[in-house]
Symmetry: C2
Subunit: 352 residues, 2 copies
């Protein structure tokens, strides 16, 4: 029996609705497999936890997470009670950084039965490799003077090591897909970091003569995500650009509620973390209508990462069967509940 | 007779096709007015000029431009013959900076007869106020070490002065529109510049109690531009965020070929510059099919800026009459030429 130990952190808002749903799905898929078992340990770390304990996680939080095979996170943030920079940097970004989850993987594709906001969407299937540890999110900078002379300086730090790592990841992945890598740049306007980014891209691409490459400025690329998403296979992007592109990708798929993501530790020292693109969505909390598909597709990415690609594949097939039959939550224009969508998926898994 | 002296810089690629077209339109509209005359002086500054002269403009180029009431620019850039950082920083960005064109105005709205790529677009009408002088485009930074230890550092400098100026511009404009300002932020991930940006926004908004405000993280905002552009009235954004949002706005309008822009000098010391959002589009040069509407709508913004709002209004009405009748270039799915669209607009202006 293969046992996978997973730390689950539902977090805030709808995270607490979709994580339990996706866990049920994972348990069902383990039964399908037969020789696989999940052991989940749930941690209540969240904004409410912060109000009670003065921290988003206990001091030994990371220590506790270390021993797991994976971290399954819902959503973090509830700015009404805790400022984002505390909640996010105390939990989500803290884990990304401390556990050296340097690669953020975010696929976007047309899903059966899900209507894109685009009038004539062509079939697209892309994945953004987002550098997840530095760049525009570097905590280097500060302010000087007060009042009208005040100046804020934000440093974006780009190391060759991290840039190259993200790019190699992208090229390696592309060689298992459609052999095309697009680099998101802005070297025509941002004159130090982005020309550097372009140089590294040029260097790395030399090692992959069979991969077709192109570079697009982020403004044009963002527009292409709307007008021609089918142009792309693998896109490699900085922390900020990857963040922006993947929200557009989610919108074009039809709902941010279905977009999955994985924060990958590539050196094997720490567990990776799996969290969908969507946030805690305070506006729909408690209504039972949160879309569970983002979290369930994220579970598929966790399966893939933990060596269960075959199961991951089966799971996504079942999900697309359900969406294809129009069993969808209100964000996708239908009226099914979180529970109904989840149960239908489980039902079909059990019938496999 | 009111005489407006305009420096025209067609620049590269389709700039040379759409600037002459828009100038003909401006001349026609001056005839409509009767008491107005344009005096155009054309400058051939471009990538080809660079190849011949070793610079994008002559040394006294800025000096020459100073005396004009406005600068009417097509597009700059032809990376096949001159690297972007030379062509853009030697002409486009140079003029923006040296002439203190600190505000970049970029409207986006549904146009009569132009099909958006969205399946169910609601009627939207928004304008992005882009800070145009600093932020992520600051030329502060550099690299250290070579090989695997190489690090690039890019500084984004945000001054209260420039930030506040952009925001006040946005609030003032909103008070003449639908009284709503949205701030594009990313303070949950970018921890020095963006919290500063948020603070300035909070401060400035206190002076405008009648304006409704909200702040959106750039990732979510980019997605909203696709899914609900009708939510927005005025959006104030940093240099980079404004750049990205306006390309998405152009895409959602139906074509980057129709999106206009103005680089405004607010202190009155130097002329403002009017250039559409699109670039030089080398792929369609010489085919006679470049969409002239971006440049013509940009001409309307120039009219507005030079105190001829009434004429500007008439011009846009005529343009929408033509687009409404389906007289459109191939980027909008029809087969009219640059010349046909332009002549139809002139024809209708003459009939006013
Ligand atoms: C060409 C480039 C430097 C420029 C910018 O980013 O400012 C362009 O994209 C624009 O928006 O005018
Ligand atoms: C919440 C925020 C800091 C985060 C990010 O920008 O990384 C989120 O947008 C994401 O994409 O996971």
């Amino acid at each position: 029996m293969k046992i996978l130990k997973i730390a689950s952190i539902p977090g805030d808002g709808i995270g607490r609705e979709v994580v339990p749903a996706a866990i049920k799905v994972l348990e069902a898929i383990a039964d399908v497999h037969g020789g696989l078992k999940f052991e989940f340990v749930e941690y209540p770390w969240s904004c409410e936890y912060y109000l009670e304990h003065g921290a988003m996680m206990p001091e030994d939080g990371l220590e506790r997470l270390k021993e797991f095979d994976g971290i399954f996170l819902g959503a973090v943030g509830n700015p009404k009670i805790v400022p984002d920079h505390i909640s996010l940097w105390g939990l989500l970004i803290k884990i990304r950084r401390e556990f050296e989850q340097t690669i953020n993987l975010r696929p976007a594709k047309m899903m059966n039965g899900i209507r894109s906001p685009l009038a004539n969407p062509k079939d697209f299937d892309l994945i953004v490799i987002r550098e997840n540890s530095e760049g525009e999110y570097s905590t280097v900078g500060g302010t000087i003077y007060q009042g009208e002379d005040e100046i804020a300086i934000q440093n974006a730090v780009f190391s060759r090591k991290a840039t190259e790592r993200a790019m190699r990841y992208a090229f390696d992945l592309a060689s298992k897909r459609r052999s095309r890598v697009t680099s998101a740049t802005k070297s025509n306007g941002i004159v130090y970091s982005m020309p550097f980014w372009d140089n590294v891209f040029k260097d790395v691409s030399k090692d992959y003569p069979d991969i077709q490459t192109d570079s697009q400025h982020i403004d044009a690329l963002a527009a292409f995500f709307v007008t021609q998403p089918e142009r792309f296979d693998v896109i490699v992007a900085s922390n900020l650009f990857g963040d922006i592109l993947t929200d557009i990708g989610a919108a074009v798929m039809g709902s941010i509620g279905i977009a999955p993501a994985a924060n990958i530790n590539v050196n094997g020292k720490y567990p990776s973390m799996f969290e969908p693109v969507h946030g805690s969505a305070p506006d729909i909390v408690g209504k039972g209508i949160a879309n569970p598909i983002g979290q369930i597709w994220t579970a598929k990415m966790m399966l893939d990462h933990l060596g269960e690609e075959e199961l991951g594949h089966q799971l996504l097939d079942v999900v697309e069967g359900v969406t294809g039959d129009g069993i969808l939550t209100p964000d996708l224009g239908v009226r099914n509940t979180t529970k109904e969508v989840t149960e239908e998926i489980i039902h079909r898994l059990q019938a496999l």
